[in-house]
Amino acid sequence: MEDQKSLNSIIDVCLLAGKIMLENGAETYRVEDTMIRIASAFGCKESQSFSTPTGIIFSLDGDYPISKVIRISHRSTDLHKVTLVNSISRSVTNKELTVREAYIKLKELEKANVAYPLWIQIFAAFISSGCFTIMFNGQWNDFIWACIAGGLGFACLLYLHRLLEVRFFAEFIASFVIGIAAFLFMYAGLGSELDKIIIGAVMPLVPGLLITNAARDLIAGHLVSGLAKGADAGLTALAIGAGIAVAFVIL
């Protein structure tokens, strides 16, 4: 009975680590690998992990086989949390943490907010939009207009994402705003190339992380999560395209 209890807490630690990593945009193979490593550091040599972008199944073999499922309902990108889980799992495998300590640390991390302040994020979107315009052979006098459109679009995305949980819609509106802003700059005679401004401004919304993760998962043999992430990336791209398209049609 005692044994089963300790197994239960081990599996909880593994699942919590996996959950935090998946929610914050880690690759599938890294999630599975980390969970199995943590389990084996606590003495469960045989374990199976199956993770998809929407849930994880994890089971420990042995005298008292046990398995649990955890559902993942919202996903975002926060590589800092992935790094922190990574270092926790590193110290677990070096036997520096007990099961209880690891669980407490992970729980703290799950609630913690390690993100950059909002204004820094918006500023990053602002500056990178302009830079992308230049990288795609745009002209320097479009730089500032791409910056403003991109910053505006990203701020919209952040705000709407909080307001209405549906990411597709938030992305649609954000890119629509970018399209409208770029058109207005052109009408006012400020910008010189509409295409370059829009391309630069849209870049902060592009699902680059999802696309690379999807391709890597697919090639590494994680077919289920690869396809799921690919579909997610496709939806985002569709939302961005549709937003710009509607702006085109209206104006």
């Binding site: 690759e27 949390k81 790094t83 230049i134 990288m135 902060p204 697919l218 710009i244």
Partner: protein, 152 residues
């Protein structure tokens, strides 16, 4: 060329902020992105095909990311994402979408196919780098075991 170097560095580092990469990795993110983009840009300038250029740049990004990940003990994904972002065919997919909206399906489908090829090239480059890394690890291990050192 100089403006490309500066803008790609800033853009990649700023993307690190958007993905909330740890503070101490932002400069390295910028570096990876800059090297990948300058390589791509240079290859396209001397009239290599953009698919080939993307493949080479993605491969180099993968190799450097492996190195940084090992050196600074951080998940590799931080560096690959920052390096990949400039290579993502955003401009081309925008063009494709624009032609779809204008009912010019012939051009649109051609452009969309090209986008898929470029995305595939990025993935292939990253995977090649990873496979190479694994081969080197295996080779080193075999060498060690031949010398009689215990296997890790």
């Amino acid at each position: 060329m100089f403006e490309q170097v500066v803008t790609s560095f800033i853009a990649s580092a700023a993307f690190g902020v958007l993905f909330n990469a740890p503070k101490q990795s932002l400069i390295k993110c910028g570096l990876v992105g800059m090297i990948g983009w300058v390589l791509y840009y240079g290859l396209v300038e001397i009239e290599y095909d953009s698919i080939f250029a993307t493949l080479v740049a993605a491969f180099v990004v993968g190799v450097i990311s492996q190195f940084f990940a090992k050196r600074y003990k951080m998940p590799i994904i931080i560096f690959t994402i920052a390096g990949i972002i400039p290579l993502v065919p955003g401009g081309l997919s925008y063009d494709a979408m624009k032609h779809f909206v204008e009912n010019d399906y012939n051009v649109a489908v051609q452009l969309a196919a090209k986008v898929c090829m470029l995305a595939g090239a990025i993935a292939m480059g990253i995977i090649f780098a990873e496979v190479m890394n694994q081969l080197i690890i295996k080779y080193n291990r075999r060498k060690q075991s031949e010398k009689g050192a215990p296997l890790k």
